[in-house]
């Protein structure tokens, strides 16, 4: 505040009084007239306010942090969100259930297929639809690919925030390979819109399984290189160990989920504790951390990538033949040739496209383990084809609310590392 006053006076006056001598500016409130020369400097007396964002390279999107600093130490940080609020939940009330699928891509845009799968599972729970075996395994493949690409972005951008620039380019190169897979399957690199109520938009193309195996192997090689580069690196450990600690009780009380919760030692993974898509029949482990700091979150997410590769191998090996869509043509569009030749199929097609598929009266909450945490969709239906209420339980939003607690007392550079470790995607935070 004293600095601001000095500047205001300096800019507002010529600097010379009527005798031609320099103007002295009192710095202290208590003794008016005391000048800078006479008064001893009061170090550590003033807090500085720093505004980070909403446009900033290190905030992982449009996040605004107002930081109160005592020198370099963070006294308080107040996150302001909502700069990417797009009205998803309101839009969902004006869409048929299948029309909500493209909306879900754009929330967590780093892991779009996971969002698509969660939507399909929630609506199928609401409607009481049982999907086919092949569809289940393909959705597991989709979820695990999403987990891998999301964690790769997280690793790359966190590395940049902390100062390790190289892994970013390696991660994006690996992501391009998985983007090729996504594009071959769904036609789009990022906004996949993979699922439909009762099935998927398309079956995997030829060569998908061979490419998946090859990309998983190359990914393991790259992850080994990143491990060599970062895990026992003194700078990396020094920047991340002991930073942003969240105890298990705090994490549970603040509704953390995903790696934020598991790094603090709480063994909660929706795939293990509320299994969906037959995850209980797969053989995989969930890494649990110990200290709840940034380093543990890095280790947890790193290991999750390796476990996802393991899951992908199993899913690919057990992929059964058969249809991907439920045989019920009131829910799934009939094949084109049938719709063009058979009257009943044409009526089904017409009703689904024009009126949508009505859900029975009721409500359902369904959650999956998305890469960010527990992603849940809550639907309330009044018997029509458009939901009364579509609520997205956003893991990144809730995880971000812990930022203020975690970063008190740390340095400003640690704040950036902690913010990176929360793994936010603003599309999901703000919806």
């Amino acid at each position: 505040m004293a600095v601001k006053r000095t500047l205001d006076v300096a800019l507002g006056t010529t600097g010379l009084d009527e005798r031609g001598l320099p103007v002295t500016v009192p710095l202290g409130f208590e003794t008016p007239g005391a000048t800078a020369v006479e008064e001893a400097p009061r170090l550590g007396g003033e807090h500085m306010l720093l505004n980070i964002g909403p446009q900033h390279p290190a905030t992982h999107g449009v996040l605004r942090l107002v930081v109160e600093l005592d020198g370099e130490v963070v006294v308080r940080v107040i996150p302001h969100v909502g700069y990417l609020h797009s009205g998803f939940e309101k839009l969902g009330e004006y869409r048929h259930y299948n029309q909500i699928v493209p909306l879900t891509d754009r929330m967590d845009y780093l892991a779009p297929m996971a969002n698509n799968v969660c939507l399909a599972l929630a609506v199928e729970k609401l409607m009481g639809i049982e999907i086919t075996e092949r569809c289940k395994v393909l959705r597991v493949i989709a979820c695990e690919i999403s987990r891998i690409i999301s964690h790769l972005v997280w690793l790359g951008t966190t590395g940049i925030d902390i100062g390790a620039i190289t892994p970013f380019l390696w991660m994006f190169q690996e992501r391009e390979k998985f983007y090729n897979l996504q594009e071959a399957w769904t036609g789009a690199r990022l906004t996949t819109s993979l699922t439909r109520i009762g099935g998927l938009m398309a079956d995997i193309p030829d060569g998908f399984e061979a490419d998946l195996r090859a990309h998983c192997r190359s990914l393991l090689t790259v992850m080994a290189e990143v491990d060599r580069m970062l895990t026992r690196n003194g700078i990396w450990a020094g920047r991340t160990q002991g930073i942003g600690v969240l105890t298990a009780e705090e994490a549970i009380n603040m509704s953390m989920s995903g790696a934020m919760l598991r790094a603090s030692g709480v063994a909660y993974d929706v795939r293990k504790d509320r299994p969906y898509l037959d995850y209980e029949t797969y053989d995989f482990e969930v890494p649990i951390g110990e200290h709840g700091d940034v380093y543990d979150r890095y280790l947890v997410r790193f290991e999750e990538v390796l476990q996802s590769v393991r899951l992908l191998e199993q899913a690919r090996d057990r992929l059964p033949d058969g249809p991907i869509n439920v045989a019920d043509h009131r829910v799934i569009l009939p094949p084109k040739h049938a719709a063009m030749t058979d009257m009943e199929s044409m009526i089904h097609h017409f009703k689904q496209v024009m009126e949508g598929v009505p859900a029975p009266v009721g409500e359902a909450y369904c959650s999956i383990e998305s890469p960010k945490g527990e992603l849940g969709y809550y639907f309330v239906s009044d018997g029509t084809a458009k939901p009364v209420r579509w609520r997205v339980r956003p893991p990144a939003f809730i995880n971000l609310s812990a930022l203020a607690k975690m970063s008190q007392g740390h340095l400003l550079s640690d704040l950036i590392a902690i913010n990176a470790s929360v793994d936010i995607v603003m599309g999901e935070v703000d919806r």
Partner: protein
């Protein structure tokens, strides 16, 4: 059906208005005035231990006669069981419930979002202000059913209001410090602040 529903009925009797089941989830509708008490019981009782708050949200139905519902999704990490608790708020009364932030700190931002989107006030919330829309947003509460999809104002008016909103709100130590320490300030300073005076710059001779 989750056995917690029967336990709640035995414990709280008529405060438990209704118990339903939908798609495998158990839903308990309770009296809105007793939210804090019932949720605290669910959190702390040794047999229940719903220590994880999954979500706080609200639902407004298309039928305008139906009340607004505040929905709490709970989960017990130890017993791996979930429960949904709802409180119905009739629309002819002020939309207020008690905040559960003292029970679960995770409810902080979730309740702020419900306030922003629905206009439901949470009594006892430490910092109840808009979170997704900007603070001076004048069009209303977007997720209400009487709020049109494209908003109430014309597009040019929305652009004008957006461009005139201050992007540097909450960016001064005075605002932050004064807001927090308001009750400790001397009364004459509070009076000065109420008049909008934020302190004076000294003149060239050094006097105030």
């Amino acid at each position: 059906m989750n056995p917690s529903a029967d336990a709640l009925r035995r414990q709280f009797g008529p405060a438990i208005r209704r118990v339903t089941e939908s798609c495998g989830d158990t839903i308990v509708t309770i009296a809105p005035g007793r939210i804090r008490e019932i949720l605290a019981w669910l959190k702390d009782t040794p047999d229940q231990v719903y220590n994880y708050l999954v979500d706080v949200t609200a639902v407004e139905y298309r039928d305008a006669e139906l009340p607004l519902e505040v929905v709490y999704e709970l989960f017990s990490l130890d017993r791996k069981v979930g429960l949904r608790v709802k409180a119905a708020l009739p629309k002819d009364a002020p939309l207020e419930v008690d905040s559960v932030v003292p029970l679960w700190a995770g409810a902080d931002w979730l309740e702020r979002e419900v306030y922003d989107m629905f206009g439901i006030t949470f009594r006892g919330h430490p910092d109840l202000r808009r979170i997704l829309m900007w603070e001076t947003y004048a069009e209303g509460h977007p997720l209400r059913k009487d709020f049109p999809l494209r908003g109430r104002f014309s597009r040019s008016e929305q652009v004008r209001q957006a461009l005139n909103a201050n992007p540097e709100a909450h960016y001064s130590l005075e605002e932050l410090g004064i807001a927090e320490g308001y009750h400790d300030l001397p009364p004459d300073m509070r009076a000065r602040l109420a008049r909008g005076e934020r302190g004076r710059i000294p003149d060239a001779t050094g006097g105030r």
